[in-house]
């Protein structure tokens, strides 16, 4: 009954007390904002994640690379609550246990995700897409009577300028180019004022200039947000990465700067085949 009432009145969204070890918001005093420890996920015997341990620092821009099937997307699924791991723990800051929360609660706590395939709402306009993502009370009744205030309108315009879609404000998202959709989705992430941004293959389908602008954007966001970028394009990774994590067969193979990682014989073997 308690659970029922909580769900009904959106109490769950206020970060359920049960998932807080210590009262308060995200505790990053020890550095990392995201902890994954010994996380394993298997699908029908296939180990998508194999005792993966990963720490993301507050304000860090981290790149994740790895061959297909290394577990990058599954890792994001676990962090955002889409997939529950078989074992292991996932904490947001020191105190928030993400495994006790579902997708909306995790999103509201400040972990937001851009999908590999651009997932914008085609039937809505660019403006409406951003408005939907806007950080606000997202319960049904509050949403029904929602009115955009001046501050929120400014925020949308600011994000529109950042992602370069000011001229497309009233266009349906469905008619945007692939690259523009990617940008819109990054914009939707920004609207949520996330603490952690998980960005899955941001530059797929982008032109050379768009790639450069994306790199600039991501670099400008680090420090304010912790960003995890999954990308296959090594040149792009090299242009933004301070620290690169290589995933292989569901666990971390190695971590370091791009140069360190590229010269690591294990990485070469994984990528080129031994």
């Amino acid at each position: 009954m308690k659970q029922f009432a909580d769900d009904l009145f959106g109490e769950k969204d206020k970060i359920a007390a049960s998932s807080l070890v210590v009262e308060g918001s995200v505790d990053t005093r020890h550095g990392p904002i995201l902890y994954m420890e010994d996380v394993s996920v298997s699908f029908d015997g296939f180990k998508a994640l194999n005792q993966l341990s990963l720490y993301i620092d507050a304000g860090e821009l981290r790149c994740m690379i790895g061959p297909n099937g290394a577990g990058k997307t599954t890792m994001m699924d676990v962090i955002t609550g889409k997939t529950k791991p078989d074992t292991g723990s996932v904490f947001f800051g020191q105190t928030i246990d993400l495994l006790k929360m579902d997708e909306p609660a995790i999103a509201q706590a400040g972990i937001c995700r851009k999908f590999q395939k651009p997932s914008v709402f085609d039937a809505l306009t660019v403006f409406e897409n951003l408005e939907l993502a806007l950080k606000a009370n997202k319960s049904t009744w509050k949403t029904l009577f929602f009115r955009l205030n001046g501050e929120q309108r400014d925020k949308i315009e600011e994000v529109l300028a950042t992602i370069g879609l000011t001229d497309c404000i009233q266009q349906r998202a469905g008619i945007l180019s692939h690259g523009q959709k990617q940008w819109l989705e990054i914009g939707m992430l920004l609207m949520q004022e996330p603490k952690v941004m998980l960005v899955d293959e941001p530059i797929a389908g982008m032109t050379h200039q768009e790639v450069e602008r994306t790199a600039e954007l991501l670099l400008s966001l680090q420090g304010k947000h912790s960003i995890v970028v999954v990308e296959h394009d090594m040149e792009f990774v090299r242009s933004i990465a301070r620290k690169v994590t290589v995933l292989h067969e569901g666990s971390v193979l190695t971590e370091g700067t791009m140069d360190e990682v590229q010269n690591d014989p294990r990485v070469i073997q994984v990528y080129l085949g031994g």
Binding site: S119, T140, T143, R172
Partner: protein, 364 residues
Amino acid sequence: MKLLTLASQDKTRATVLSVLAAITIIIPLCNVLTPADSALHFSAYTVSVIGKYLTFALLGLSLDLVWGYCGILALGHGAFFALGGYAMGMYLMRQIGTRGVYGDPLLPDFMVFLNWKELPWFWYGFDNFAFAMLMVLLVPGTLAFVFGWLAFRSRVTGVYLSIITQALTYALLLAFFRNEMGFGGNNGLTDFKDILGFNIQSEGVRSMLFFLSGVALIGAFLLCSWITSTKLGRVVTAIRDQESRVRFLGYRVEMFKLWVFTFAAMLAGVAGALYVPQVGIINPSEFSPLNSLEIVIWVAMGGRGTLYGAIIGAVVVNYSKTVLTGLLPDAWLYILGGLFIVVTLLLPDGIVGLLQRKLKEQAA
């Protein structure tokens, strides 16, 4: 471009609204003001038939909100209509009093016939009009809420959801057929006499019921138009197109579905409550899965996701039904099935989509 479609949409909306308002006012007015032999006088039959269409349009409208906007293909929506109808029927039964065949002051005829000695507890309060009207909203609303809560929270979607909604209405059909349920078994509730003390057969009351059906339809249409124009409306559209993405934006998808589903069920209940006094009977056949499928066909025919499309579809299909069941009684179901196939294959946006395309071609 966007402005153009908006304007044309608003024009269609305005047209539909004015036609509805005209029908709602003129038909009852003519009937009250003109003598029965006047050319302007509509027969009782015509009034009750068009009144019935108005309640069907309201029912279609409520399904469009669920299906056209939220993407939930509910194949048991008729159940909420029937429950609203039964709530109204129970009120009307209690108004019969001693005028029943058995003359029992408290028990409706079918209970006397079954040798029941006292009124079942769930019939209490239905002699009060306000209470009965509250139940018209609450009974369908509560069922939708509980059912939706269980289904949406377990993330039952798509075909599976459609099938369990069919099962829901079928289960209610079987339950209401049973005499032991206390709702008159397969005969249902009928032989109504009065509503609020006025003779339900009288022309004035019929005109009034017609008028109220029109008002309810216009009110619901405006309310639904408003809802779909709010942020909640946009969240719901987003859920229809990409449910899981909406979750990652921090919205509790199941609560939004539940809200729309429950609201639509209450609208359907109102439609049922207006339908029953105009046709004079409610029986379990209203729960038949086929009825719920027909509602889907109205909405698909009219053009889903437009609201007025559902109204147009409900009226066109039911008018065809009235005409064709008279001319070719055996062929109606084949025609209905054929229409559905034609619409699905050739007119995915329904009649409304076809009209809009023609208008655009003319404008170009």
